[in-house]
Symmetry: C2
Subunit: 165 residues, 2 copies
DNA sequence: TTGAACTCATACCGTTTCGGTGCGATATTA
DNA sequence: TAATATCGCACCGAAACGGTATGAGTTCAA
């Protein structure tokens, strides 16, 4: 459920590695070695990250990649969207943001009445899901900061985060 | 990103419909009509829901389906997992719970050092993601209860829910 | 100026998953 | 016993995913 694609995994790992290297410019080859991902695959991933402004590239010899911003300024939602494209929790209609292509609202799904009775609440869930991911900076992944206020074990109802969707 | 499969959509819509019907036993055919999903597809979905204890079935004529529990007792995580199988946010190793088959820990991925430096924090994210979904009851989807404490608009940092992964 | 070391962009392909269909078996009721 | 259901597979086409290959452009250093 809600799993990431493997490429998104790679992106996360690669970005974390770059974050740990700080200012250093790392060639795709060396990054691939460090992270144990086949070079051509990593190349693809890095390109997508480039186009989404998450890394910057320096061409030519001695070139390579570097984070475009500080690791604290990059969040999980960005990374995932960079690789997997804009989101939609359910097929049911719209995204919310870059809604452009939603106009190809074609054949199926949302001309159904009762399924769209679902639409509003599902979208709300999706919204808060996205905000949840937006709140997690890359730095937390890269440096594995043990977070101050974790979840309160298994006290049945999860605290805060879940209650207010 | 993080999108549900279409079948999970159908499951959600069907369950919501059942929730609204209360005690009524609804045949697959009538449910399919109500929800505008092709009958054979819905049949598959209902079977999966049956095996995961979310609905109960009554066979024979006048048979049909009904929620196995009150809508308040069914949460989103259950529904999604029933359809899409147990979760893993990242390929990176384990689930956490029914970890059995994780032993087929085969060819790839997690024999890599640096990628597994990622493992712990990613799993923590996944954990809280799951708890988040566990906190949303079917009743909220079915009856679209407008929630008391929504998100505070676009105040940059999302409140509560996101801060504490 | 030449060549090496890179990035960049795209096209391609095999495999898996997804969405959907069909059918035979079984169970229940009238 | 006939009608109406669920049940449980197995099947198929299409799309997405994961991975590979290749050619072109860019920069730097000798």
């Amino acid at each position: 459920m809600l799993s990431l694609t493997r490429k998104a995994d790679y992106a996360l790992v690669a970005l974390a590695e770059l974050a740990q290297r700080g200012e250093e410019t790392l060639s795709a080859r060396r990054l691939a070695d460090a992270v144990h991902v086949p070079l051509p695959v990593l190349t693809n991933v890095l390109n997508q990250l480039l186009h989404n402004g998450l890394v910057i590239s320096i061409r030519g010899s001695q070139g390579g990649y570097r984070l475009a911003r500080d690791a604290k300024q990059i969040n999980l939602a960005e990374v995932i969207e960079a690789i997997e494209g804009p989101a939609r929790l359910a097929q049911c209609c719209g995204d919310s943001g870059g809604l452009s292509i939603s106009a190809h609202a074609e054949e199926q799904a949302c001309n159904l009445e009762s399924s769209c009775r679902i639409k509003a609440p599902v979208q709300r869930v999706h919204q808060s899901l996205r905000q949840f991911l937006s709140g997690i900076p890359l730095s937390q992944i890269a440096f594995d900061v043990p977070v101050a206020l974790g979840f309160k074990s298994e006290s049945g109802a999860p605290d805060g985060a879940a209650g207010k969707y």
